[in-house]
Amino acid sequence: MSNISWQTLVDAAGLGAIYALMAVGIGLVFGVLRLVNFAYGQLIMAGAFALAVAAELGWPVWAGILLCFGVVIALSLVMEWVVFRPLRTQAPAVMLVATFAVAFLMQSVALLWFGAFGKIAVSLAWLNRPIAIGPVDIRAITIVAIVVAFLCLLALVLLLGRTTVGLHMRAAAMDFRTARALGVRANRVITAAVLISGALAAIVAVMLTVQNPLVNANFALRDTIIVLAGVVVGGMGRLSSATFGGFAIGFVSGFLGGALPTSQSQYLPSLLFGLVIVVLLIRPGGLFTRGRGSVERV
């Protein structure tokens, strides 16, 4: 294997790591609410704009990141309060289409506010400089992304496995009604899931702006659609399979993007989603699930 393919593989793993974090953010909320948050990408977009505005105002990097976290978490909580909560008892399809509307609402508000050309978030651009490891040049952000994603997932595993609120969240994901009947407080569990999911969106916003400093209203929209497809391919039923699905689709997307010649890489979305459909044809329940998974259960 030549060095270029090693490079492609590492870059693909970096993208996979970021997509895995997005998949966890979407999967956590799905677990407790049975709600697929299509507007997750717009939370990331809002965080990216916060970083760009902070950079424009000349704030130090840490203040920009703090603002990013503040904005994204505040928006997540508002979204939970205004949209998720009244819709909690509705069918999953109703909630999905509602978050689709919210996504477009946030996107078009950003378009009105910041204009079509968007802004540039430069504060962390130094992370783009390459680090030579052996014969391979790897951008620092790729390593940062992989390490951060690994640490976040580790923290999450500990949180879900070792704390009371984690136990409650797992119980709620398994059977919300029974969990409530046994004394799990619904609002607290949901708020916790939304908070963690928002924090993950902020982390993703920081890492995506390093790779792609031009922030406009469409920021992270495509990524969200790809991650959602990855979550379905992995298997929506369990957080771990959804996360693997997110990583897998990010990895494949990054790998194909790096490996294909330019004349073919314009067809990358078709190839990627074509692959998704083929995988679903073979394993409708999800790649990383046992048994029937997300096939219609009655």
Binding site: A91, F104, L105, L112, V276
Partner: protein, 343 residues
């Protein structure tokens, strides 16, 4: 189909006829909005056939509209202009020409076949997973039609398509889609699919296959969407951008605002959101209010439409029509209640 059921068709047909009558009365600059609304009714009724009857959301139907539009467009651009507008077209497509009416039928056929092909894997998924996976179909279609210039104009506008979708064709097209949707809904298959929507377990217990019923509805709905796409491309020169996420949002908003689970709701929603959207489009261009020239910033349309959609879902999830079909009885009851109140 019972005699009573046919009266449910009265509401949608009346609204379309009313819109056509209004279209005849107004100036041609306003008429284009009426024609647009009628094409939107055709699209939304087509989407309703699958989404409304199955309860499974689809974000992919605009790709069937796009495929239908591309089909009808390529086949009706005058042959002598074709190589100038689409220089990279397949040779066999350079010479194949059909008339206006046939192009709509071919668009429906291609839309239906495309829906069938992608439906085979997607309909195996559970409702929610299927909904998300339909995004993939939209992405594939957008990506291919944008870059693959052997089957169309790629990223440039589809110019020189005969603009045959006038008020008459739009009205007849809307009638046709509503008619097919109504007949399907009251057919054996339609009733079976609606049973799976209401109670999947009970439906399966009486021997209904969720997979096959959903697949058939997806096919029929894809064909109708392709037909609507044909109407759309004969209306004005479009680019593939016009048949992507914003149109997906707009048509879903129409469906949801009216109420997903009835044909009456789909038609009412299509007219309501079209009206709102047209008004905002005019307002974005600037309107004169009492001597002042007021213009909304461009982009306001999507803000208002998506906010309206979210609000309806939060406050009245069953939509304006509450998921019920049009009924003369209810109209009569409401009228008598009002009379009592007055008396």
């Amino acid at each position: 189909m019972t005699g009573r059921a046919i009266w449910q068709l009265f509401g949608p047909v009346f609204l379309v006829a009313l819109a056509a009558a209004i279209g005849m009365a107004v100036s041609s600059s306003i008429q284009i909005y009426v024609i647009n609304a009628l094409v939107a009714v055709a699209m939304v009724a087509a989407i309703y056939v699958f989404v409304g009857n199955s309860g499974v959301l689809s974000f992919g139907h605009i790709s069937f509209v796009a495929v239908g539009a591309w089909t009808a467009g390529v086949l009706t651009v005058p042959a002598e202009e074709r190589s100038a507008i689409m220089p990279n077209l397949f040779t066999w497509l350079l010479h194949a020409s059909v008339g206006n009416f046939s192009s709509l039928l071919v668009a429906a056929a291609v839309g239906g076949v495309f829906a069938l092909i992608v439906g085979v894997p997607l309909m195996r998924l559970s409702g929610l997973a299927a909904s998300i996976a339909t995004f993939g179909v939209l992405e594939i279609t957008y990506n291919l039609l944008y870059f693959y210039e052997r089957i169309g104009p790629g990223s440039s506008a589809f110019s020189s398509v005969p603009e045959t979708t006038d008020l008459l064709q739009a009205t007849l097209g809307a009638f046709a889609v509503i008619g097919v949707a109504f007949m399907y809904q009251h057919s054996r298959f339609g009733q079976m699919l609606r049973a799976t929507r209401e109670d999947p377990a009970a439906a399966q217990a009486v021997g209904i296959s969720i997979y096959w019923q959903r697949l058939f509805a997806f096919f029929l709905s894809g064909a109708l969407a392709g037909f609507a796409g044909g109407l759309f491309i004969h209306l004005l020169p479009l680019t593939i951008q016009d048949m992507y996420l914003p149109l997906t949002l707009l048509t879903l908003a129409m469906l949801v605002v009216g109420g997903v689970s009835s044909l009456w709701g789909a038609v009412v929603g299509a007219f309501a959101v079209s009206g709102l959207d047209s008004f905002l489009a005019v307002a974005e261009g600037g309107i004169d209010v009492g001597g002042w020239h007021v213009g909304l910033p461009s982009g306001t349309r999507i803000v208002v439409v998506s906010a309206a959609m979210a609000l309806v879902l939060i406050l009245r999830p069953a939509g304006l029509c509450g998921g019920r079909e049009f009924s003369l009885d209810r109209l009569r009851r409401i009228a008598s209640r009002m009379r009592q109140r007055r008396g």
